[in-house]
Symmetry: C2
Subunit: 250 residues, 2 copies
């Protein structure tokens, strides 16, 4: 792929176009894509036209643009996101049906927790997590698991900050976060009371792959003052099954 | 995006690279991608390198390439696939828990049925369907629903053939298929005994969007000689709920 005069690769420009689409902004005009991507208008129009002809974006009768089913299909059918999610789904369904609160699976992606799946019931409480959405590593139970069992380099990078507060309870002090990560490693799970929202407590456990490395975090969002023990037992049992399905033998 | 000397747009070449990844082939070398995409070796290597730097593909320690989490994230977070699937999931979970067989959601994509979701239990029977996989419209219960309620142009295009047989029971005669589609419209559901695999019977019902158009098919894969009535009742109730969640008011 040739570079543009700006030195931006075509893949880079493609990402800038795709990044303008979010969960809250599924449909845009070509002009909006151009403005939000920061690309010259003519460049944005050309890329959008090209992607529409290839079926990666779709244009409706009002000429508004959305992500194409073809792009979703190609990005999903052979992705690790689907493989992990399919391995986890039966166990996640059991956790959700027993605990009756939001049940999620997350992986480490670009120094954040990326959520691959979320199961919810009609009686589940408050939850900001979306499928294909993210949370900071230090500020969610899933992120704490991914960080505590991640590389030393990752930990030092995150500890160097900034440590943004999502709520009044988020740990934003590096020394306190370091102690929290040691606790997560010692206990084998993370409890994050009020870190994301003051009304809820996240609890998360590690999922391992065939090499024994932590490849994902399985979590539940409880009400803030719920007891965590029964949920942790469900999560540990489910994470053991998922790890086994991924080839982990201990 | 500039065109290459071959007249193939960059988006077109990108699709050719992405299409070499399948559910059965999640990991490839750059050389394999080049050979399977039909692109000149140097072009394939350049595109792969560009996509790896942008995070849309990932390269592991053995220099093998896979679809990147970042691509999955960008293709999913604002996609109609996720929106439809999230609207359908609670109802699909109830159908699966009651019928205890594979429960799927499919949409029309490029003249085929594209499956957005599949829920299965440990006791579910045989099933070839995968998430982000496809089946021909004439040869599956989901496809028959999407075809029967699709446009006249779509129907004539499919009826003009070829009508490939997936099993001995697949309807491959255009006149018989035309009668089958009329039956699906009259009954409001499709039953496809043995069409995909001789051991199973697919049953599917339409899901409508806010305009009243059929936007998806909800289906269950039963054992070949199971009775279909109770499953159809579950499917119709679930499809009504999903249509309502999508804004359909009748």
């Amino acid at each position: 792929m040739a570079n543009s005069p700006s030195g931006d690769s075509v893949a880079g420009r493609l990402i800038r176009v795709l990044e303008t689409f979010t969960a809250a902004r599924m449909v845009q005009t070509a002009a909006e894509i151009g403005r939000r991507s920061g690309l010259p208008d003519s460049t944005a129009h050309r890329i959008v036209g090209d992607l529409v002809r290839a079926g990666l974006l779709e244009r409706d009768q009002d000429r508004r643009i959305r992500i194409g089913m073809r792009l979703w299909e190609l990005a999903t059918r052979s992705s690790d996101a689907l493989r992990l999610r399919q391995a986890a789904l039966p166990s996640m369904e059991r956790v959700q049906s027993r605990v009756r609160e939001h049940t999620q699976l997350a992986v480490l992606e670009q120094d954040e927790a990326l959520f691959l799946e979320r199961l919810s019931g009609p009686e589940s409480g408050s939850n900001v997590i979306r499928v294909a959405g993210r949370l900071p590593l230090h500020a969610s139970s899933s992120g704490l698991v991914l960080l505590a069992f991640g590389s030393r380099e990752l930990q030092e990078r995150i500890l160097a900050g900034p440590l943004v507060a999502l709520s009044r309870e988020t740990v934003t002090d590096a020394a306190a976060l370091r102690r929290k990560l040691a606790e997560v490693r010692r206990l084998g799970h993370a409890v994050a009371p009020g870190y994301v929202e003051e009304v809820s407590t996240g609890v998360a456990v590690p999922v391992k792959d065939e090499t024994g490395a932590v490849t994902a975090a399985l979590s539940v969002v409880l009400r803030r003052h719920d007891l965590v023990e029964a949920t942790l037992a469900e999560l540990h049992a489910a994470a053991g099954e998922i790890s086994h399905a991924l080839g982990h033998r201990r």
